[in-house]
């Protein structure tokens, strides 16, 4: 047993991480799937997309609070500086996108003059004035940031597997709670 492989994220952080990982990945697939479909899938995927997005936004707030209260375990001391920078930057990018994506989606529907319906009757207030120009900009931003989020997710997943399978330095197990050798 050594420090770096036993240091773990708190249980709250781990639960939030895996729950949100599943939600965000689902959300990315729902997003690209619904805009590429003319079938009934288009309608029911949108009905999931909106409340799921708001759920992610709420969990992101909780998660940021947990993170600020319980700083994550440190990265291994022998991690090359470039990888350390990449690790920190990608984590903050993931946090930024977790907030930005739902907020942009919400603002985009507001700018398009749509009622922001989370269910048959649950409606959120608009957070942006009606404007076709703003709608177009926000709608494109939503799509491009989704691609950025997907790429960041891929980098994050690859790095996690690199730590778990190749470096075997305890970084992956600090989030899984499982020792992989």
């Amino acid at each position: 047993m050594n420090y770096s492989s036993s240091a773990q994220f708190t249980l709250a952080a781990r639960v939030l991480h895996w729950l949100m990982a599943a939600m965000i990945l689902t959300m990315l697939f729902i997003g690209v799937g619904m805009v590429a479909s003319v079938s009934e899938r288009h309608d029911w995927l949108i009905r999931i997309h909106k409340p799921l997005g708001i759920a992610i936004l709420i969990l992101a707030v909780v998660r940021l609070a947990v993170r600020l209260r319980h700083p994550p375990p440190p990265l291994p001391v022998d991690l090359p500086p470039l990888q350390k920078v990449a690790a920190l930057a990608s984590h903050w990018l993931l946090y930024a996108l977790m907030f930005a994506m739902p907020l942009i989606g919400w603002a985009m529907l507001s700018a398009g003059g749509y009622p922001v319906m989370l269910s048959e009757s649950l409606r959120l207030p608009p957070i942006f004035p009606v404007s076709p120009v703003a709608f177009a900009v926000l709608r494109h931003a939503h799509a491009w940031l989704a691609v950025l989020l997907f790429l960041t997710f891929l980098a994050h997943m690859s790095a996690a597997l690199y730590h778990g399978l190749i470096r075997r330095d305890g970084v992956l197990s600090s989030m899984t709670g499982i020792r992989l050798r």
Partner: protein, 370 residues
């Protein structure tokens, strides 16, 4: 981050070398590849034959041309404003707030169902009416209706195939009659539409037309009981209906509307038809038998008109699936396709309004013929 760095652990695992290292990198690469392929598959990039909203809109553009800032279909139109005065009679079947007795403000749009905003008013023998009801509870009801009794096809794919068959031949600038004929020969469901369109004439006025939802929807009452319905707007103005003489010129509808509204508001009755058990809700090519019960849900009162380039309807996407609690989509496959395609059209025209890079540049506006 000022995390304290941790000393290198003494019990560090042995370095991987050779095939073991390559094998583990291959595992990581495979996981990434599978994820990317799945993502691209779901997004339609690996299935060029799959019908997507973008392909549907591209085909509309191929047929009619690209007119930046305009809707990709029903491009020529005019805004109208007014209100809906509910009779309260539909409340038994739908608990949507719009059906409680009282007024709901409406922003609507009349249009000529063609892709070219400069098309002649007589280029097609039918008209459309789109409405957005803004309910007091903040919910909305949007509907797009057409002045024809049935839709030509049942599915989005058939609609796409019809558009493809109607694409103008570059040599003649006109659709190839053989292709259109072949399409209808293989689509017997279009018979009712073809039978109607043979004798249909372009009306001289928007005001004298009736407009039908064509697609079925579902009303949900306060007890959660579901009632399949279709609806239509029946005009009170009938003076010129069936008038054999189509006015000369290409832009007579707007002038007629302005002239009529100067004399007073125009009215339609919202008639909601209740389905009998077994009536098809997923097939807009089939009218329901005429003995089905109609409810007069209230009166649409239109008071003023504005040009679509500056009026309040310009930035509204009349997506038929923007529905309030109490009205739901039916299983009609055209509904999600309309919703998806309208969203694509809306994004393209708002992007053009925003002059975003990569969008179609504004064309010089042809001379106004009004």
């Amino acid at each position: 981050m000022n995390d304290p760095l941790v000393p290198t652990p003494s019990g560090k695992p042995a370095r991987l070398t050779g095939p073991a290292l390559i094998g583990r990198f291959a595992v990581i690469g495979a996981v990434v590849a599978v994820t990317v392929v799945a993502f691209c598959y779901v997004g339609g990039w690996l299935a060029p034959q799959r019908l997507t909203p973008a392909r549907l809109i591209n085909q509309l553009q191929a047929n009619a041309g690209v007119f930046p800032g305009y809707r990709r279909n029903h491009a020529k139109g005019v805004c109208v404003t007014g209100y809906f005065l509910s009779s309260g009679q539909a409340q038994t079947y739908s608990d949507a707030q719009v059906f409680a007795p009282g007024r709901t403000p409406v922003v609507g749009r009349f249009a000529v169902p063609a892709g070219d905003p400069y098309a002649s008013d007589s280029s097609v023998p039918f008209r459309s009416m789109a409405l957005r009801f803004a309910l007091a509870n903040g919910q909305q009801w949007r509907t797009g209706m057409n002045s024809m009794p049935v839709f030509p096809v049942t599915t989005p794919q058939a609609f796409y195939d019809l558009l493809k068959a109607q694409q103008p031949d570059p040599a003649t600038g006109k659709p190839d009659g053989a292709k259109v004929g072949a399409f209808f020969a293989s689509h017997p469901e279009a018979a009712a539409f073809l039978g109607w369109v043979k004798t249909a004439k372009p009306s001289a006025s928007f005001a004298t037309e009736g407009y039908l939802s064509l697609n079925a929807f579902v009303f949900v009452d306060a007890n959660g009981v579901r009632h399949p319905v279709r609806w239509r707007m029946q005009p009170e103005s009938t003076d010129a209906a069936g008038d054999a003489a189509t006015p000369s010129g290409t832009d007579y509808l707007d002038a007629d509307l302005t002239r009529r509204l100067a004399q007073g508001p125009l009215r339609w009755h919202l008639l909601v038809t209740l389905a009998n058990p077994g009536d098809p809700t997923n097939d807009a090519t089939k009218a329901w038998p005429s003995d089905r019960r109609d409810i007069d849900a209230g009166t649409l009162v239109l008071e003023s008109t504005q040009p679509q380039e500056s009026g309040p309807c310009r930035d509204i996407n009349y997506d038929p699936l923007v529905l309030p609690a109490g009205i739901e989509a039916s299983d009609d496959p055209l509904l999600p396709a309309r919703s998806a395609a309208y969203a694509t059209s809306y994004l393209r025209r708002t992007s053009e309004e925003a002059h975003l890079p990569g969008t179609a540049a504004a064309l010089p506006k042809p001379e106004t013929k009004l």
